[in-house]
Symmetry: C2
Subunit: 298 residues, 2 copies
């Protein structure tokens, strides 16, 4: 098995534990609205030593995304059973990338297509986790108040319509960077195409961990949520935006956090080095990475 051919487990009323399907064969209908309209929702999470991390947070977010899209999906227990089946098919894997996928289903059928995939992680995430990343600031085109006004824009739902997110990453790669931080059209810091933005400020010995506020329409980050809970327990102060690019450039450290790559320290933003004291930034990164390593089932 390679990362490109995962274990597939479809949610299927006839198979309470999920139906294992051959990932080497076509499994989706060509008229599935996931494939023809990007019409669906998903989650990606990490399993370590057979144990999915932050599973309830991901199931909760999947349910919220589905509700935003008016998709009626199976209950959490069915997802948990299918995930357990997928993980059990990889008894020796240390780390697994678990994806939960829901499409609106085959055109005209009126019921979603739901499956779980479990694959070995690729090498890119680990490299970026260790070396940090260079980031470009790109305009997401929406102002920071749009989410409240325009529910049809599906802000805050993790939909399958990720073409813009993928295009932004391609744009970054073609311009010598690894990743992107999106800004709103009114200049507020939003999120990465597949990650949440975090920054740290240290003042008079007080450590403060800050993330953009959610009412800008960004996705609520499960890793950010877990890290905030752990950092608060460790005595950090917590803060929520609004943030502007200056706040990133002034920070003692900036990270993009996500469930698979975990904590990726930002070395440069638009070519400018981030964090006046690299040793401090690395120390903060180690401290937060240790919290994440201990985090379990939050």
């Amino acid at each position: 098995m390679t990362a490109a051919s995962p274990v597939l487990v479809f949610l299927d009323p006839a198979h309470p534990e999920g139906r294992i399907a051959d990932a080497g064969q076509p499994q989706l209908m060509a008229t599935d609205l996931g494939a023809t309209r990007g019409d669906g929702v998903f989650e990606s999470l990490l399993a370590v030593d057979g144990r999915p991390r932050k599973l309830q947070a991901h199931l909760d977010r999947l349910a919220r995304s589905a509700a935003t899209m008016e998709l009626d999906i199976p209950p959490a227990a069915d997802w948990r059973a299918a995930i357990a089946t997928a993980v059990a098919a990889h008894p020796a894997a240390e780390e697994l990338v678990i994806k939960l996928l829901v499409t609106r289903g085959v055109e005209g059928a009126g019921r979603p297509t739901c499956w779980v995939s479990a694959a070995l992680p690729g090498p890119a995430g680990r490299v970026q986790r260790e070396n940090g990343i260079d980031v470009l600031l790109l305009d997401r085109g929406y102002d920071s108040t749009i989410a409240e006004r325009a529910p049809w824009l599906l802000m805050g739902a993790k939909t399958l319509s990720y073409a813009v997110n993928m295009a932004a990453l391609r744009y970054a790669h073609e311009h010598g960077a690894d990743d992107v931080i999106f800004l709103s059209s009114d200049g507020k810091v939003l999120e990465g195409p597949t990650s949440t933005v975090l920054l740290a400020h240290i003042e008079d010995g007080v450590k403060r961990l800050i993330t953009p506020q959610l009412d800008t329409g960004i996705l609520p980050g499960t890793t950010q949520g877990a890290l905030f809970a752990a950092a608060r327990n460790a005595g950090w102060e917590l803060g929520y935006g609004p943030l502007e690019p200056e706040d990133l450039l002034d920070a003692d450290a900036v990270w993009l956090v996500s469930s698979i790559r975990l904590l990726a320290r930002v070395n440069h933003i638009d070519g400018k080095p981030i964090g006046k004291d690299p040793a401090l930034a690395q120390e903060l990164t180690r401290e937060l990475a240790a919290m994440l390593a201990e985090e379990d089932g939050i």
Copy 2:
């Protein structure tokens, strides 16, 4: 065969005329980036009596969308061959909905998945074509100058990431309307989720057909293009936006035009009747519909 189970023809180097596939069986890999990221492009067009309409215009737009997405797709000749194979499988069909689909392909494979589907049209388009439609104005969230500034937003490409377009249509249906006209955040008229906006003004006997200008990031409409060419030949004046909601409310007629539903007259926008003289609006609709019926292979 029903509308939900079309004829499928995959583009395949081993089959120069295209490879016919069983639409009743799964044909897509679960790791295809079309299904997992809405990462691809498409076109929809009508074939009448076995003859695809505006085929070159659709192939040109598919190629432009693919170039915007940095997708390397087969040449037009391969698409024409596959379309001919798909159409030939429906010898008795008066009208066929032809879809051309491209995804970025199976994760890691590095080559797109390309197919053509040909299905009988559903009844909804014909009903709306005959009775007209009620429309809501909804904010698309982008300002009208974003396309030039932010190529990563893929404005003007017809991508598979249509979740927002589908959500806007659901919102309209739940609020008593049939369709949507998107506005930019700075109040300019853009397009429908699956159509182009046209309006007519008659002044001193001069008929003027107007559509929003393309630099707002809207999709260049193949039906609008064909209608503009035909209307110019028939002595109409042509105009291009910027348009604001007032221009729609003041028009003698407003339409949403697209390749399958063709010309759908807008009866109400946000509950307000459109066109002071319904008889005139119907006459204009008949005149343009006759042009479209004659339009062939433009």
